[in-house]
Amino acid sequence: MSEERPPARADADDRKRRRLLRRRRRFQEMEMEASRRAYSGNGSGGACLPPLPANDDDDCDGGGDNGKGGVNDGGGNGGFRTLFGHPYGVLPYGNIHLSSGGDDVVRRPGLGPLLSALNDEQLLCVLSYVDGKSLGGGVSLASRFLYVMSHHDELWRDVCLRKWGEGGIAVPPPPPPPPNGGRNGDDDNRGGCWRDIYAHNHALELTTSSSTTATTTSPRRTSRSHYNDEDARETRPRRRTTSANTTPRSFLRRHEPIRIAGIYSDVLFRSWLCRSFAFCPSWLEITTVPTLNHADVTIDLFLKEYEERNVPLLIKGASNNWAAMKKWKDVDYLRNVTGDVKFRATSGAAPLPAKFTLDDYLNYCTYATEEAPMYLFDRSFGVSCPELLHDFDNDLSRTCGWWDRNSKHGHDLFGLLGDGRRPDYQWLIVGPVRSGSSFHIDPNCTHAWNAPIIGRKRWIFYPPGVAPPGVYPSPDGDDVCMPISIGEWFLTHWDEHVRRRAHPDPSKRPLECTACPGDVLFVPHGWWHMVLNIGDVNDCASIALTRNYVSSSNLPDVLRFLDTKVGQISGCRDRRGEGAVPPEDLGREFRRALMEALEEKGDEGGEADDDEKKCCDEGLDSRIQRRRGKWAALLEKSEKRAKEGWGCDAWSDLSPTCSGIEATCALNEGIDMMMAVENQRTTTTTPSRSSILARAKRPVFKTRADGGGAVISTPASDGFSFSFL
């Protein structure tokens, strides 16, 4: 007679079996993971390069000029070609399968049994701790593999930044071409410039006595050094001092790279790829940003149709008659008028910022070929070099009245705080061809205008709340995850971008344009944008001006931002101690400044009561009622719109979740949704917007991007929340 197992026992056996299965699966996965990480040519978790042919630089169509030449062959490799081969002969890791011997030929013997256990990323990590002298000495002479690895340009960049970034990095101009032609037709295929820049600054350091050049022997700081406006205001001689060390004017001695065959590494190849990609013509073609000729733009038109509607606008020819347009074409004028003033440059890929004189920086631009080059973004040029400011400030107000501080609609309201206290707002932007800014939203909810003076810029916009391909903001907007370099974005996400151009909802489509010198571009607040300096044949670098501002059209959003997103406020953190307002106080101080301006511009005289000077919203209402000057009307309008619909559309947070993407949509859209829902629910009463508003205080609306379901709730404790599927 067979015995049946009691049910409990069967359950236990079942669970045990499942556990063993899970365990076995886990062991298998770990084995795979272990062997994957053993790849020498890859970082331990590095994304793989898109498939690429081994670069045959002899066949290169680029012609070695600055980027207009490269041709898109449109072939099966995704259509991207580099202009030059890797200067040290490195090939992408996939090519190892075509070789006989693979890593055993150069890598393993060149590293020895111990070092070859590390992958390339780890090796670079080790080398990043090594000083310049050892790197260029023992390491690079030890073996062919170490020679190539030790010449990785970013290693040298970081050494230079740490030693001389704070005091200023000297970069001399390139050597003149030899009279009897180039050496082997390979002049454009030098290795990266940073090794040579290191050698130059090192030599300067040795020959300079401690009193002439600043801070070559300053103690290294362990903490990230902060840019200090004191430096900008320090009085310095405006001309370069002639000293024994710097005459005659030296040139950058370039070292000659040796090509080593048999080295396969995505880590080493990748940054080269991203910096030397050829511009594909299709990237630069279409114009979908609204465009007008300057003559056709009036203040009224601009404000009503573009600024208040929050739509970008390219104004052709707006800056044609600015003094800067003529004067800055002469690079010597720029070099002379800036003299020894140091400007600040940063890079997303670099651990520290660096300072350069404009002269040095322009020289750097002629060599700069990194994946994410140092980009000069200086916020103090108005103070450190007032001539530059005079070259455009008055012309701007004259030609673009909608951007005039005295305009009655209220422009540049942060200016009410005063120059020392307001967040950073104007920048001089200089960068080499192929540099630019990857996707971002401008700080503090501000609008901006951007005027290229030298060199063309390619712009890609995505509407507020629509994250571009490859860009993943965190739900609260504090963090964004995205590719560091523009080259990487183009290489990886272009196809998706093209698809988005045809998105069924036109309000979610990207907009693009090319801004040329003479044009000025309006960048409305909240819009994602990316900029690529495409340059022109004779340009040494791209030079542009930009300002960010608050006007009546974005004032409500700015106020809300200052109150609710203190952690994301930027442009005032590191300027304390000069009366600069810290981020946590900015909202309050801004309101106070607005109210003081209201007081000054009010039609009626009289002093306000002491307790009215408190800057709170209730006080604002009563003050508006009492004083009806033009500013009162302005603020009233802003506050009203804030109550009705918060001006800007779509504060959107996108977060990938396991069940889809939730998006926070604008208040107005949310109210529409709620009304639709209410209509469905009740047949007796008609819901009104104001009644919904009354119940909803700072509501959060979420809708699924796949169209299914919505959850609407308010954080207030009146318990109003609604959901349906």
Binding site: C125, A142, R162, H202
Partner: protein
């Protein structure tokens, strides 16, 4: 079954099959452990001592013991000073605490195994520390010395050697 003790630990399995029982909080210094635990089914049962086992096929027992020692000290005694560039000094003992400086004062084979273990188990602070320790072996050495220390052959051709000397800054 005494639930509390068992729940707080997991088992790390070395290449040779040895198991090390480690408190979960300490093991979570490794991101690999964190992601592996995250993938586990929650209804893992706790009868028959169903403690989670995580195999580490890359990591030898001796190395794993050292890694666990690191994590234990980090969590139970004091975390390591983060290593930031520029380095304050050329001496490890001046960059991190004494215990950590002594921790990497080991023979080279073990040091390199620690680098790969730290990489595989995704423990950033340990990776930084071990890479720093390796760099100390390299700094200030001539090419011949580096070749000797790491058992590297000189694979330059005579022409290349000449070219390199010329290009030296």
């Amino acid at each position: 079954m005494d639930g509390d003790d068992v729940h707080g630990t997991l088992k790390l399995v070395s290449k040779e099959g040895d198991t090390f029982e480690v408190p979960i909080e300490i093991a979570k210094l490794s991101n690999l452990v964190v992601t592996t635990l995250g993938e586990e089914d929650i209804d893992e049962d706790d009868d028959d001592g169903g403690v989670v086992e995580i195999p580490l096929p890359n990591v030898k027992a001796t190395v794993l013991a050292k890694v666990i020692e690191y994590c234990t000290h980090y969590k139970m005694v004091e975390p390591m000073t983060p290593i930031t560039l520029p380095l304050k000094s050329n001496r490890i003992s001046e960059i991190v605490q004494d215990w950590y400086a002594r921790f990497v004062d080991v023979d080279q084979t073990m040091l390199f195994e620690l680098v790969t273990a730290a990489n595989f188990m995704d423990i950033k602070s340990l990776l930084d520390l071990t890479c720093l320790a390796v760099s100390v072996l390299i700094k200030g050495k001539s090419a011949e010395e580096i070749r000797r220390i790491f058992n590297i052959g000189n694979d330059f051709s005579p022409d290349e050697e000449v070219h390199l000397r010329e290009n030296q800054s």
